[in-house]
Symmetry: C2
Subunit: 96 residues, 2 copies
């Protein structure tokens, strides 16, 4: 299992729009092959910041299958215009 970790800074003032867009667009992630869970959390200290945590069965389910799919395009079309900057995306795994 691999955890996709993305810190998303949204344009300040557009948080409610982002949350609504996320609610519509996130099915593009959760329905993708190998996706086990999608969670969105909002930062308490920096309210225009969100944390997206996605559990994937394998790294390639995110970096290859999802990113090359029409679902990725639809996801980014749904929420991308509300990003203040390109999200910082990393992947984490259980320590060996």
């Amino acid at each position: 299992m691999v955890l996709e970790h993305a810190v998303i800074d949204v344009t300040p003032g557009r948080e409610a729009e982002f949350e609504a867009a996320f609610a519509s667009a996130s099915a593009n992630i959760s329905g993708s092959p190998g996706c086990r869970a999608v969670r969105l959390r909002r930062c308490i200290e920096t309210p225009a910041r969100y944390l997206l945590l996605v559990e994937w069965e394998r790294l390639e389910d995110h970096t290859e299958t999802f990113r090359q799919s029409p679902s990725f395009q639809r996801w980014r079309q749904g929420v991308g215009e509300l990003f203040a900057a390109a999200p910082a995306v990393e992947h984490y795994a259980e320590p060996a």
Copy 2:
């Protein structure tokens, strides 16, 4: 429920020491009042980076009760010398 989110950069080359120290010291977190879960994950792109995710019932369980406790001192004594820098700590909650 509040998610504590800490990105911990360990001194490169000391990852195995950190993981062993974490295994010993993390009970100081998990046994603290209001702590529901503690997870550690290792970054795939930056192997000396770790993600600590702790679920707390309330923000104050972390920022007040835990940080003012002897358990916090023991936790930091157990792992702190292996940190390359002070961890960046934030808190996240479910969107309203």
